[in-house]
Amino acid sequence: MALQAEIVQLPANKCPKEVETNQKLYPYFKDALGAFDGTHIAAHVPSSRVASDRNRKGQVSQNVFAACTFDMYFSYVLAGWEGSAHDSRVLQDARSKGFEIPEGKYYLGDAGYALKKGCLTPYRGVRYHLREHYLSCTKYVYI
């Protein structure tokens, strides 16, 4: 565990190379340090805890919160929340437990998080998955 803390470290407080060298991304995200999200990992729990560990899809799981940099390194991981916990609640807990976001910087989050200091979410009520839609369209057209 000590080794994990040594390897998984928060990134340096500067603009990542992936954003800096990309002219399309730089104007929007020059203060972004990385991205975070939650995922569910199947868990085996005692029967007394099964109810609280069941997630919204019906499986027993633990909610794992992870932040990563744009070059695919984990920078912070918090595991062990029960599957029923909401992502934003896990984020709140992570920020109180050492996931520090420097002043003026932020991470990218998905629409499940609230737009707060240190977290940049997409616009609501506007189309989001344009690229995926594009892929499915081309598949359809070419077939």
């Binding site: 565990m1 080794l3 994990q4 040594e6 390897i7 998984v8 954003v19 399309k24 991304l25 929007y28 995200f29 972004a32 991205a35 975070f36 999200d37 995922t39 990992i41 199947a42 868990a43 085996h44 729990v45 005692p46 805890r49 027993v60 633990q62 794992v64 992870a66 932040a67 990563c68 744009f70 695919m72 390194y73 984990f74 991981v77 595991a79 062990g80 990218l108 989050g109 998905d110 940049l120 997409p122 616009y123 506007v126 189309r127 989001y128 998955h129 344009l130 690229r131 839609h133 594009y134 499915s136 369209c137 598949k139 359809y140």
Partner: protein, 137 residues
Amino acid sequence: MYISNISFPDIQFELIPCRIGKTNIRKLSIRPRTKEELFNLRHSQLLNVVERIFGILKRKFPILKAQPEYPMQSQVKIVLALTGLHNFIRKKSTQSEIAFASQQESDGQSCTLGKFFANLFYLYYKNYINKNEMTRY
């Protein structure tokens, strides 16, 4: 063949209504129309890194899908340790992630690769302990 509507664009063996009709032509356009949509497009380009990293982690270490019968405390530690291992492999490995994933598919190779990384990790760990002991005295 089943008939369905456009909300299931990907499923095979379905007859989807013609998209080139007048009513659906706006839905078909994939270019962002407003500045909010453009922002969302750029946002999704960057945010997908975190989705990819979860995919890689779960594919590389199938124990995360296996629901092992360990105490809860160990299950939490497994996740933390594997994320550390992921970072370590990424830092030290000369292979790209794609090559690693494709090699995992062929069963014979994955075992030796796993052993190789385990050895590397052990060496690094020993190094780390030595360093710590040196600083202690």
